[in-house]
């Protein structure tokens, strides 16, 4: 089971901050994960945007990066504090 986190505006788009899912066999990397989740939830490309970065286990990664069950996978829209 992978832990999926949605931050910022993606929390509103998906209607949740996190969920625990079993990755389908076809989803082996971040690029595939973006496509599958976006289509499965009918998000019309919100998870495919280039400005949305993925972090695996608290480290930002570049697509395509392997994903595994037990990973914590975060979808991160553009950041900025202050």
């Amino acid at each position: 089971m992978a832990q999926i986190l949605f931050f910022g505006r993606l929390m509103d788009v998906t209607g949740k901050a996190e969920e625990t899912i079993t990755l389908p066999d076809t989803v082996r990397d971040t690029s595939a994960l973006r496509r599958w989740l976006d289509q499965d939830r009918g998000l019309q490309g919100a998870l495919l945007e280039k400005t949305v970065r993925l972090a695996i286990n608290n480290e930002i990664v570049a697509d395509p990066h392997p994903v595994n069950d037990n990973d914590e996978i975060a979808f991160m829209p553009p950041v900025g504090g202050g």
């Binding site: 972090a55 991160m76 829209p77 900025g80 202050g82």
Partner: protein
Amino acid sequence: MLRVSSEPFNAGEELSAFERDAAGAGAVVSFTGLVRDHASSGDVKSLFLQAYSPMTERGIEEAITAATERWPLTALKVIHRVGEMAPGEAIVFVATASAHRRAAFEAADFLMDYLKTEAVFWKKEATETGEHWIDPRSEDYQDRARWA
């Protein structure tokens, strides 16, 4: 010194404590970011700040290290709030101390540019007309690029 917390803080009290620690430094610069009371979409009711720990803290610590390597600082403090806050409340506080003012000014400026564009936070503003997630402005990215 870094603190990321949902606790409200008073910038003046933080500055007093900082200057006690930094005595002898000569120059102290502080920056306080306050929740604005008016946005283009109307009067601001509240601001919500979300972090992703420990990535958020790790990133700020790296920026602090970069600042201390680049400028001869004798003390440095960063406080950043998360959670829900009201207009006029302090979101962020950066204080820097050095023997001379240029280093203190530049280091505080540098840290704020990092915090505005690269620190791992997401901000949602609630106004009369609804809630809006806020991205950095293009000026923020331009400011940040000055240090490259």
